[in-house]
């Protein structure tokens, strides 16, 4: 019995082995379960989690296209700059940092301090600074200060071409000028890069890699001639000083193509800072000095006598008059409504006067045009009638946008209200019509181009990343016959040779053009003593190549006329334009 009991008593050693075996089996089962869980059940999810930790997706910003002048000179390009930012939570001494960094970045330390004590994790201290400056910031070794690369737009020609190129905002979106109109073409197509990286951020060579490279933006090849653009701007800045005017605008067109060779104005602005360069300018007091709106394209004005070209050309084209046609009894005052000239605000009620008093006499159409007689021109327009006059004004492109590739072009307008008895007469001499300097230049270019109007344009062609060039097509239409255009060219030459535009003469070339002096409308709707003085002309007259239009807004009384204020600017710019284009002199007597 004792032996049996001993045999039944469990062997502790065996029991321990069994327990250990059981434990091991359980452990193995657990591990097997976990293995199946991890490798089978959760395999896909865990693999995805791991991949997502390694995978990085980066947007690849495209290089914005460049803008060139007609000679390949850079007007705008994009380079890499550095943006300085901070994590305020990591900054230990915000005041010290604000003072140090503010001095380097030329930012108000008080402003920086406010940002550095904010409760945000990311604040910009200054965006798009030069790499050298960013390096100096990094060398301060301040915890919580960082830099990161960011593209920035630069304009090597500075203020010279600012009215052409326009500008972009801080994020690179086109805001004005060519930058705005061609924004979509210039900005290119963003790319995307997906790749695996290791703990240190390096690309894992054999890992997943999918890169769709960014497509750089299209380059713009403009018709602008940078040296001429500079000369035009300088001429305008000089004119502002000389005439004490509010602003001055110049546009230079190539007659045959409608290409804009220069489009400048004063006051000017810096496209990089998007601010005026005039240190004395106070935008709150004088909005004109701080404006960067391009008056050549957007500003409308009553063109005054420069519009007479259209009136006379229309009458000639319609066979109503010739240059030698004698208009009888041209006085210096014309009253289209009874007692209109007794009214103080006579200009609005049908009283028209010539600029200079003269005896009533018979005058040829050529004399009327050369002497810029308002009364004579209205008598010519009377033969034409309102409908045909309006038709020609519209044919020459007034009252509708020229279609130039520039942002927000003003169409101008023709003021022919129902029941207005004198609007046709006003329109004949450049009132009741509002046009842009560009529209006037294009109208004169049509005469220079033997009667064919060509739409002005700034971009001659675009070049994509593969070097494919897309040339801008010309939009043309005939407005008058070649014979009418030739006659008008000779009349324009007379104005400079012996008429009101002698100050527009260019040494060595035969020049033709027309002065314009229009009183400005006041806020009460009445004409004021202030004027807009203009001159539009072309050269050389044996085969016109260039048209220049000059507008000077509110010159001093001494320079209130187109001949005194605008014609000298025209001569200066035209001379440079002819030299730049290599046009052979066509006059031997100056």
């Amino acid at each position: 019995m004792a032996a049996t009991k001993a045999a039944r008593k469990p062997n502790p050693a065996k029991l321990r082995v069994a327990l250990i075996g059981l434990f091991l089996v359980a452990a193995w089962l657990g591990m097997a379960y976990r293995l199946v869980q991890v490798q089978v059940v959760q395999a896909a999810d865990l693999a995805d989690q791991g991949l997502s930790q390694r995978l990085v997706t980066r947007d690849l910003a495209p290089q914005r296209g460049k803008i060139f002048d007609r000679n390949g000179e850079l007007l705008a390009m994009t380079i890499e700059a550095q943006s300085v930012w901070a994590n305020p939570g990591q900054i230990e001494d915000p005041l010290w940092v604000a003072q140090q960094v503010g001095g380097l970045l030329d930012v108000d330390p008080d402003l920086l301090y406010e940002r550095l004590i904010s409760d945000r994790d990311f604040v910009y201290l200054k965006r798009q600074v030069e790499p050298v400056l960013a390096e100096q910031i990094t060398e301060l070794e301040v915890r919580g200060l960082y830099t990161h690369p960011e593209a920035t737009r630069v304009y090597p020609a500075g203020q010279v071409a600012s009215h052409v190129s326009g500008f972009v905002d801080i994020d690179g979106n086109g805001q004005e000028g060519l930058e705005y109109v061609y924004d979509e073409d210039l900005r290119g197509i963003p790319g995307k890069a997906v790749f695996e990286r290791d703990l240190e951020g390096r690309i894992i060579p054999q890992g997943i890699s999918d890169i769709a490279p960014a497509v750089p933006g299209t380059d713009l090849n403009t018709t602008i001639d940078l040296p001429l653009q500079y000369q035009a701007q300088q001429a305008c800045l000089s004119a502002l000083v000389r005439t004490d005017a509010e602003s001055c605008w110049v546009v230079v067109l190539e007659v045959e193509t409608g290409g804009v060779l220069a489009m400048a104005g004063a006051p000017v602005f810096d496209p990089e800072t998007r601010r005026t360069v005039d240190e004395e300018c106070d935008p709150t007091e004088d909005p004109v000095c701080s404006s960067f709106s391009n008056f050549v394209v957007r500003g409308v004005y009553e063109p005054g006598s420069t519009e007479k070209l259209i009136t006379v050309a229309a009458a000639v084209e319609e066979g109503e008059v010739e240059a030698s046609t004698l208009i009888p009894e041209v006085a210096d005052v014309l009253e289209l409504r009874k007692d209109a000239c007794r009214s103080a605000d006579d200009d609005l009620y049908g009283c028209y006067r010539d600029f200079e008093e003269h005896e009533t006499s018979d005058m040829t159409v050529a004399e009327i045009f050369t002497r810029s007689s308002n009364v004579g021109t209205i008598l010519v327009a009377e033969k034409l009638g309102q409908d045909r006059l309006v038709s020609y004004i519209e044919k020459f492109g007034l009252g509708s946008p020229t279609g130039i590739d520039y942002s927000v072009e003003a169409p101008g307008f023709l003021n022919f209200e129902a029941g207005c008895e004198t609007c046709w007469a006003s329109a004949a001499i450049g009132y009741s019509v509002a046009a842009t300097p560009l529209q006037m230049a294009a109208a004169y270019a049509a005469i220079g181009n033997d009667g064919v109007w060509t739409a002005p344009h700034i971009v001659a062609s675009t070049t994509d990343v593969d070097g494919n060039e897309d040339v801008t097509g010309l939009e043309t239409r005939r407005v008058v016959s070649e014979s009418t255009a030739t006659l008008m060219q000779s009349l324009l030459a007379n104005v400079v040779d012996e008429g009101t535009g002698r100050a527009a003469d260019v040494e060595g070339y035969r020049v033709g053009g027309k002065t314009g002096t229009a009183n400005k409308l006041g806020e009460d709707g009445r004409y004021t003593e202030e004027t807009r003085a203009s001159f539009v002309g072309m050269a050389p007259m044996d085969d016109p190549k260039v048209v220049v239009a000059v507008l000077i807004d509110s010159p001093s009384f001494k320079f209130r006329t187109g001949g005194a204020a605008a014609a000298p600017v025209f001569a200066e710019v035209m001379e440079q334009a002819l030299h730049r284009l290599g046009v052979t002199p066509d006059a031997t007597d100056g």
């Binding site: 000179e73 850079l74 390009m77 380079i79 890499e80 630069v154 090597p156 020609a157 500075g158 203020q159 010279v160 390096r202 690309i203 060579p205 054999q206 940078l226 040296p227 653009q229 500079y230 000369q231 300088q234 006598s305 600029f355 200079e356 810029s372 008429g499 009101t500 535009g501 002698r502 100050a503 003469d505 040494e507 060595g508 002065t515 002096t517 006329t561 187109g562 001949g563 005194a564 014609a567 000298p568 200066e572 001379e575 440079q576 030299h579 002199p585 006059a587 031997t588 007597d589 100056g590």
Partner: protein
Amino acid sequence: MTAARPLRRVANDRSLRVIKGHSLKRLTLAPWTIMVIIGVVAFLGLGFARTSLDRSAFELDRLDKAITEQEAINEQLRLEIARMENPARIAPLAEEMGLVIPGNTRQLLVDLDGGGPAVASVEGEGDTQ
């Protein structure tokens, strides 16, 4: 001296027989050895190739960065050239050096039909309007 046993007896002895394939059994080691060697070489080769690829990839990455840096420098230089060529910078410097803009000079217009060269005259300002 014992006489030599006839050969026939040897042939009849069943404990001694020719075993077929004996020589083949010794030869089977060679393919395995070769396969192992090939396997090892392939493994090492693969490792080497992968390392080389990785090294090339890092080198490419480094070159890409270098190209980007050089392109950035190139763009900076291009910008500098463009700024140097800006007429607004050149013209005042040229004037300081006594140079004049071509348009401000007088032109000698030679009369090919005879007579001497004539200097084009400058017109005065005319009437204004």
